[in-house]
Amino acid sequence: VTQGHSVFRDEAKLDINYVPYKLPHRDKELSLLMEFFIFTLQYPEKMAQRVMITGDVGTGKTVLSQRFGTDVAREAGKRGTNLRYVHVNCREYRGSLLLILHHAISVFHPNFPGRGYSAEELLRTFVQILDQENAFVILTLDEFDSLVEKEGSEAVYKLTRLQETRQNKPQRLSLICILRNLNGIQQLDPSTRSTLQSNIISLEKYSKQQLIDILDDRVSMAFRSSAVPEETVGLVAELALAENGNARFGIELLWRAGKYADAEGLGTVAPECARRAVSSIIPAVRKGELASFSLHEKLFLLSIARLFNKSQKVRISLSEAEQAYAVVCEEFTTKPHSHTQLWTYLQTFSVAGIIEKEVSATDSRGRSTLICLPRIPARELEKELSGLLEQREV
């Protein structure tokens, strides 16, 4: 795909490591985090802070902390304070305090030797470096539970009670610990736990509308204007919501959908691209399952697949599906089954995880059933069913 035809303007804005300038629906938490550190910022030598950030996967813990880190270091710079923000993913360092500290030291001395001493020695060295450079560090321990699991209370105790061994000296090291929930620190001894638990920011799962706002924000940065229709963003938000409100999943899906659109030279990221993208991440329906459906189940599902394929819609109504089914039945010269029977088939498809159905809000004409095909590309589904029906005809 040539640059001129790509749906993307700047793919890097969808990268897992990209930290946006603004964090939609996390502004309160960002302010709170800044509030916790305001005294440390004003009088860095007098107080080190400890904060925990909790929340499920994709609730924005890492990005919140990194945004804060950049902002706080810039603010400290304006005040003439040498404050560094160091973000470490504990799991990447196998939960080892030694490796984590070595990474922190390498921010100041990139060629600091990696072997030959204990974690205690390295912690002393780290503080010595901070004293010599009159520097202050906010050390973020992402996936903190992996450090707790590997090193236990002892390591965390050393980090949190560092100042007790250096009375009347400037406080140098603040901590932000990121983990999914507080179960991850249950194995710590009560005193270490209580030291950490004084400031907790817990991030709630994003709602669908919040996910849409986040995705819209990224779409405007990463894609060409009008390359991603509203329906696609809505569908991706729905899929991210189904994945526990995981915004990161949604952002990755957007990128993947964009890649499918580019590969086919579509120029826009249609909902079908998102379906194909998600089917590459989530295992799609098994072929055997489709083969086990009855003739009319297959015909009805084929009509649904065709409708989605043709319309580029995210949802279709049961009555639309029924009309399409009537056409398919004509094509296969068979008499259509009743509305009640089709509703039962829909139930079967829903249980099999092929479609999702929802009931629309009551309007003047009563309630109607809506069908959504979130995970499987309509085109693949149509192809598969057509193949199965042809085999039967032969």
């Binding site: 001395h109 990139p110 060629n111 600091f112 030797p113 030959g116 001493y117 020695e121 002393r124 060295t125 010595q128 470096i129 010599q132």
Partner: protein
């Protein structure tokens, strides 16, 4: 001046420190291809000349060029000019 420029090892140490800015003794020894004692002997000579300096972190001794020394700048210029001329 002969003490610095007459030694192939000392010149190699200086070139390494120009490239990476700061290194511990064992790593310098490894990169130059000598043992620890030999490396420390050459490093001390360069430090006595005021071209490099060191900081101790526990048992770790990190050497770097003394950026404020006119001798260091002269050595850096010499090596830069030499290597630049070689490339042309």
């Amino acid at each position: 001046v002969e003490d610095v420029f007459s030694s192939r090892l000392r010149m190699r140490i200086l070139r390494i420190l120009i490239q990476v800015s700061e290194l511990n003794v064992s790593e310098i020894a490894r990169r130059v291809g000598v043992n620890y004692e030999s490396a420390i002997k050459h490093l001390r000579i360069l430090e006595d000349e005021g071209i490099i300096q060191h900081k101790m972190f526990g048992r770790i001794r990190l050497y770097r060029l003394d950026e404020h020394s006119p001798k260091t700048r002269a050595v850096q210029n010499l090596i830069d000019t030499w290597e630049h001329a070689d490339k042309q």
